[in-house]
Amino acid sequence: MKEMNKLFESELKVINIGLKSFKETLDEQHVYSVQVDWKPPLISDSTSFAVIRRYSDKITDANKEALKRILNSKPVLVGMGRAIDVIPGMKKNLLLHAGPPVTWDKMCGPMKGAVIGALIYEGFAKTFDEAEKLAASGEIEFSPCHEHAAVGPMAGIVSPSMPVFILENEEFGNKAFCTMNEGLGKVLRYGAYDESVIERLRWMENVLYPSLKKAIDKIGKIDLKNIIAQALHMGDEVHNRNRAATSLLYRTLAPEIVYQNEKENAISVLNFINSNDHFFLNLSMGVSKVSLDAARNIENSSIVIVMARNGTEFGIQLSGTGDKWFTGVSPIPEALYFTGYSKDDANPDIGDSSITETNGLGGFAIAASPAIVQFVGGSTNDAVNYTLKMYEITEAENNVYKIPYLNFRGTPTGIDVIKVIEKNILPFIDTGVAHKNAGIGQIGAGVLEAPADPFKNAFIGFANQFKKKSGEEENENK
């Protein structure tokens, strides 16, 4: 029997794309129907779409491979070390920063502040003026954390002497590095650089780092993927809420911190971790980084493996386009502001922490985190909807990170830039908001939709590779 005749003999069930009134009419008649929230694609470059359609089989295969790598990654914490000793390409006059590449003159307030703080911390400068002059002199080099297997929240400054966590991807052997979280208030990552900030950094170097290192070395390795999976069941999305993950890590570390260290140091270290709900954040970023890096350089893959902001620009990288950055202007987040601050004070979005969303966590997993849903507009419903929407632009559902409320459905993982463009749905990111002036710190928290330009540019760049390829194929045929 033809499908047409089958239609006549079954109950009519309709998918409606476009005028909502048609769906209302169907509802009135008690006909099952689903409304599609359709939007025109982000760009209407038909030649790019055509070439991508032509290679769609190859792209599908490549994306499957990318996701296999992301999902099968086994990130574990294996130790600690100094940046200069462990981070690839690190050198004495190099500072790593968040986001895509940026020069000193283009850096935003908080990033400049953090650079100054780091130069003072390193002993390269004594005063603000000295540090500023040095930063502008060209003697100091700047490079994105992401280009050195590292990630950093907010300004994301990593200087040579800073101690860092070492994460290893047991499945694929690649590594990632991240600093220890400083806590809230006046901190370097928000661009603060006064004496209290430098002092804390020194304490972290001299007390926190050796104590933790001893404990971790003794434990051997800590399965961070497991901690995140549990934390999602405990109300974290491990970007804006890390309370559960921090607690779980604390439980894992505490005994060895006590055994391996003098009592006073152990007390101060445990108190420091305990008082900072975001202590785990840097590690959740490191986990995401080490997992996504495993999917780098898969030819023909349109999966996004980096989303990062430097406070000036928002940049992304795709698996199939090598180390190329695709950028656009970084937006100011919609946020709830601490008393005394408003949107006028806010810096454009900044930090590598959107690597968590890239890995199916953070905003993509916000349905798992009812405690912070007010950031997204007030109701748990909104949060669930944000997560549901992200399934539209992702390649897979996570095999380990699951959301209890959605019947333990895996989090939406692996952003496909083609889906982003076709469906006109941009990734949803949880974020903290920095004051636009250096040294003031965090002034709020909120959410934002990633800007469209980086994705448009990436889509066109990706399509151009195929245009080049098909051009070469044609030439060969001649």
Binding site: K2, E3, M4, N5, K6, L7, F8, S10, E11, L12, K13, V14, I15, N16, I17, G18, L19, S21, F22, T25, L26, Q29, V31, Y32, S33, V34, Q35, V36, D37, W38, K39, P40, P41, L336, Y337, F338, T339, G340, S342, A367, A371, Q374, F375, G378, S379, T380, N381, A383, V384, N385, T387, L388, K389, Y391, E392, Y405, E422, K423, I425, G444
Partner: protein, 520 residues
């Protein structure tokens, strides 16, 4: 002035507080504000900003402090009221679970895995791609959108035919599938008459006339007007006929179209000669030669087509249909006798203002080869093209639903304003002898047509009285009593205003023609 509110023992997490603080600060009359828990740090912060009232001095860690600055006691009271609302709202919890409409056909299928039809009404340049996605997923398509390129239409229909799927449209406004009216359609009886139509209004008219005669529709398949043109070659029109021929609930097949291309007519004739079921065809303004000597019972008007189908459905004598229609003609002539006497000598011309395109074509069929010239914005046969579509000449028959009139506006079946203005303009013209209108009911159309049309009719009467003339208004109403607008109610209200309400556009057109002829 500064007001401080202390809520003892009311703990709010910092996020809720920020939210409340944000709402308070958004009130225009608030000069400065804070909502924080009563910790020593927060108290000193309030102190610095001059918001720490005496009462708040006593706050403890677990007490909520709200403070705000404004200009007067009145304002302060108003703000307090708002704050209490905000606090209450933050208490209320959303209990319903998340619901997110899907953003693509693929995701919609996950939600409704046994979906069998996709209705598409997005902008034409995207609609074709969406339709192709639906077909690739094995789903039938109703493509309401217009401005889909003919190349795309052909591509879709060839692909659909291979897969045995429907593509109704592009520019398909009406269909009734499994008794469910889709887009612009009426609530009609179910029955044993199946329709294939390349004309939306035509489908509405015949389905309503059938239903109002006590019969019903099994399926009504729209194809979009371009399907029967040479380029598309009637792909879906022919598939529709085949499917109805096989459908066990269809005993009679009714075909409705503006004239198909000759090659399509030939294919239709070939096909129907193999079909056992009775077939009635309405091909408005088609040259009859090609249609001679085949199985199709050709009807001249939509009404005749509907009534022939009804006769087959009820197994009655076909000849009775023609004699009934002839009988009706004498009734119409009786009306004309009365009406024509009231007209002034200078009242000479018909002014027909349609919202349904097919009616415009059908009426022009009655006004071929008139002694005076006939004009239209969409001329057919001997009818000439209007120089200015906004201005009538002699006999004028216009389709106000044509693109020329609707750019940037809703269709005249929904928004009556353009036609209402035109009605008044015709009423003012001393040469207007009769105004002919259609009113189309059903889903998609205006839900309260009387509130749109009655005031205009009253205005026309007033104008006529002022000019000391009589101006007859003839109107057909397409719909059923099951439509939300209720046909009987609409017809009764129009009659009460002196409108000559006819059961079909064919009857209305004939009445108008008799009146003009009588006048001569």
């Amino acid at each position: 002035m500064v007001t401080g509110i202390l809520k003892r023992g009311e703990y709010f997490d910092s996020v809720s507080l920020m939210l409340i603080a944000k709402k308070i600060s958004e009130l225009e009359i608030v000069l400065d504000s804070a909502a924080v828990m009563g910790t020593p740090e927060n108290k000193s912060m309030l102190q610095t900003s001059g918001l720490l009232t005496d009462e708040l001095q006593n706050a403890g860690d677990m007490d909520l402090m709200i403070a705000y600055k404004c200009n007067s006691q009145n304002e302060s009271d108003l703000i307090l009221q708002k704050i209490n609302e905000f606090l209450k709202k933050s208490d209320e919890t959303e209990k319903s679970s998340g619901s997110q409409n899907p953003s693509s056909i693929e995701s919609a299928i996950k939600i409704l895995p046994d979906a069998n039809l996709v209705m598409i009404s997005v902008a034409g340049k995207y609609a074709g791609d969406e339709a192709m996605k639906a077909l690739q997923n094995g789903l039938n398509v109703m493509l309401f959108s217009d401005n889909v390129s003919i190349e795309k239409e052909i591509e879709l229909k060839i692909f659909a035919k291979e897969k045995g799927l429907f593509v109704m449209g592009p520019d398909c406004g009406t269909a009734i599938i499994n008794g469910v009216p889709l887009a612009f359609a009426n609530v009609v009886n179910r029955g044993n008459i199946g329709i294939v139509a390349a004309s939306g209004t035509g489908l509405q008219e015949v389905s309503c006339l059938i239903s109002n005669s006590g019969c019903g529709i099994s399926q009504a398949i729209g194809t979009g007007g371009r399907d029967v043109k040479k380029e598309v070659g009637g792909i879906m029109f022919l598939e529709g006929i085949k499917v109805l021929a096989e459908d066990k609930n269809t005993d009679v097949i009714l075909l409705v179209s503006k004239p198909p291309a000759d090659e399509v007519i030939i294919k239709i004739v070939e096909l129907v000669n193999k079909i056992e079921k009775p077939i009635v065809g309405v091909f408005l303004n088609a040259s009859i030669d090609l249609l001679k000597q085949n199985k199709i019972n050709i009807a001249k008007t939509l009404e005749e087509g509907a009534l022939l189908a009804v006769a087959y459905s009820q197994k009655k004598n076909i000849k009775d249909v023609i004699s009934d229609l002839n009988k009706r003609e004498s009734e119409l002539k009786a009306i004309v006798e009365k009406e024509s006497m009231k007209l002034n000598p200078e009242q000479k011309y018909l002014r027909a203002l349609f919202s349904g395109g097919t009616f415009c074509d059908e009426t022009q069929m009655f006004f071929q080869k008139m002694s005076e010239e006939v004009f239209s914005n969409t001329p057919v046969g001997t009818v000439k093209k209007l120089k200015d579509i906004w201005k009538s000449e002699k006999h004028t028959i216009v389709d106000l639903g044509d693109d020329d009139f609707t750019v940037g506006k809703p269709h005249p079946m929904i928004d009556y304003s353009t036609r209402n203005k035109r009605i008044l303009a015709e009423a003012k013209d001393p040469e207007t002898a009769v105004i002919l209108l259609d009113i189309v009911l059903g889903y998609g159309s205006n839900m309260d047509p009387l509130s749109e049309i009655i005031p205009v009719i009253k205005e026309v009467k007033k104008l006529a009285t002022q000019q000391k003339k009589h101006l007859p208004i003839i109107c057909s109403v397409t719909g059923t009593d099951k439509d939300a607008q209720n046909r009987t109610m609409v017809a009764t209200a129009l009659k009460a205003e002196g409108v000559l309400v006819m059961e079909s556009n064919a009857a209305a057109s004939k009445l108008a023609k008799f009146l003009i002829e009588k006048k001569r």
